[in-house]
Symmetry: C2
Subunit: 356 residues, 2 copies
């Protein structure tokens, strides 16, 4: 099962709207095949593993390990359990029941009814954490939101006068690209697009396909369509806005998908936006700033994880703070996190926090 | 020699105006005695070690390892080399020549003239770093200045509204007390005394004697003498000021030592202050804020080391920044440091930086 979890980890950030699942097929103490959910969710991990075996007769009598209950419903894909039954698996070992109401034990029940032995067991591994991200997003419209901050030691992300320059080192930036590949989509405000003109892609060798889809907040649809963020092929770019769409606007942005939403407190309603992103099947959202969007998310207690890269430099008050006004005007309102990990990266530090 | 360095490390922060030195005496492959510079510098490490041996005849023919050249001049103490000669040591092994102009090779020369074998060898250990702090302070009036900051993840040290509360955890604060014990003195501004009323002592079991002496900046001598900082016995408290001393003022502050200095840019001249501290024999200065003093030191490039404790909390713009205006208005002026070490302490992180 450990190996199956590793297969699932491979798929993280690539499988939306489906969850990342890992599968191992074993017969007579030998691994016949390994599988994981493929890009965009198809094929499922079970089918990906089964497809490794050309002579399907070999599958008869084998055991399938899966990090999540195999599906019993017909979605984009045919139900996985049908193949498990068809190829006469002897046994299916599962880490966790699928809390998707369309499955939720039905897969297990049907396998058992066909005489296949099913073991559902908590292996105490990280897969619950991975699966829960999917369940929360599916059942509560609450995707997992990660914030990436790259600052100086004193928490400044840029000069106030907007002089643009890298604060953290090259290795930190590479890890930043890897973090992108492990998320389903990114959310960014208009200000950051205008000031930094980021591509927000994954520029690691072999992982350019893993560049996440992009959601931009631009209430008045003012962004110039020539910014880099619109240039990358093979990914979807959405804009949240609150104005009426004209043919002229649609023509201005080629291939952009528009989502009209409403304001709250003079800004686009962040809770509604997050909920819409989840409904569209994105379970892991990465936010790399700017300061205003990070602050809005923290203020609304929407941040699940913070990747905080810190360079060994100090700017002082002429630097722009990573976080602005959180309405924390007394100590009891302070936002608490748990320190998950801390790593040295050349002359930078990466501190990883999760919800306290 | 490794063991001698460990002896020297024990003495760090306790020996001013003398440097912390470690000594090991060996005869026939056995350690006869270990010594280190005692509190306030007396006795020296050599004498401390020699005094362990009641029958001085045993010392004849032994080898003395010292982290620094034994002294040849008469200060508060008699010259160490006289005892080395008197007790007929065979050999003296030294890590580094003493760059104090009063010694600077004279000790080695005199030992050799008496037929004692002297080996001066760079053991590539930390002792150079320890000794150089002493040499810089003695020869350039530049003590080693450490800044201790305890902040949130976003670099805030308190609420702007001065609500007082610990930001970092209990273990971090204990390490903070240990850092105090390893410094000769502390420097603090009037504002911090007034807002936090700190004792600035070392409250670790067995180390209360290691509480450093205190230098306070209070140009107009306005501080109320009832603050905790004036209450601790067995240490010196100095106030830097720039007004005329009256009998009334002297009476107000019992036992405080006054140092009159001049202003520069409307503040007490920080370079002059640092230089005076060094001239008084203090080689390691710890500054724990506030924001204004930390900023002044950083702006003047006077900070050698930063101990930055970071709690896993976020305050945002209603928090008081650890560092204020450094006149860093472009990236090229940014203050660079080197990351020496980073440690997790419960739910906090301690990042240790030194001059870049």
């Amino acid at each position: 099962m450990k190996l199956a979890v590793r297969m699932a980890d491979r798929a993280v950030g690539l499988t939306s709207p489906n969850p990342p699942v890992g599968v191992i097929i074993v017969k007579d103490g030998q691994i016949l095949a390994r599988g994981w959910t493929q890009k965009g969710g198809s094929p499922h991990a079970e089918i990906h593993a089964i497809n490794q075996i050309s002579k399907k007769a070999e599958l008869s009598g084998s055991t399938l390990y899966s990090t999540l209950e195999p599906c019993s419903h017909r979605g984009k894909n045919l139900p996985c359990i049908d193949k498990i039954i068809k190829y006469k698996f002897k046994e299916v070992i599962i880490s966790q029941k699928d809390k998707n109401p369309l499955v939720n034990g039905k897969g297990i029940k049907k396998l058992k009814s066909k005489g296949i032995k099913v073991i559902l067991k908590d292996f105490n591994n990280n897969i619950k954490y991975t699966n829960n991200i999917f369940f929360n997003s599916l059942n509560r419209n609450k995707p997992y939101i990660s914030l990436k901050i790259a600052s100086t030691a004193d928490g400044k992300i840029a000069m106030i006068l907007k002089e643009s320059n890298w604060i953290t080192g090259k290795s930190s930036r590479m890890i930043g690209h890897y973090i992108r590949s492990k998320n389903d989509c990114m959310l960014v405000g208009r200000g950051t697009v205008e000031s930094d003109n980021p591509s927000m892609d994954c520029r690691l060798a072999g992982l350019s396909d893993a560049s996440p889809d992009i959601f931009i907040l631009d209430s008045k649809l003012k962004l110039n369509p020539n910014y880099n963020i619109f240039k990358l092929k093979n990914r979807n770019v959405f804009i949240f806005h609150n104005r009426s769409l004209t043919g002229k606007i649609k023509k201005k942005y080629k291939k952009v998908l528009f989502i009209k939403t409403t304001n709250k407190d003079k800004l686009l309603d962040i809770n509604k936006i997050i909920s819409v992103i989840s409904q569209k099947g994105y379970h892991r959202v990465l936010v790399e700033g700017g300061s205003e969007l990070s602050t809005t998310l923290l203020k609304n207690d929407l941040v699940d994880k913070i990747y905080w890269f810190r360079a060994s430099k100090v700017i002082g008050s002429e630097g722009l703070s990573a976080i602005s006004n959180l309405n924390v005007n007394k100590m009891s309102l302070i936002k608490n996190f748990r320190l998950d990990n801390s790593k040295r990266i050349d002359n930078d530090i990466l501190d990883i926090y999760s919800r306290g």
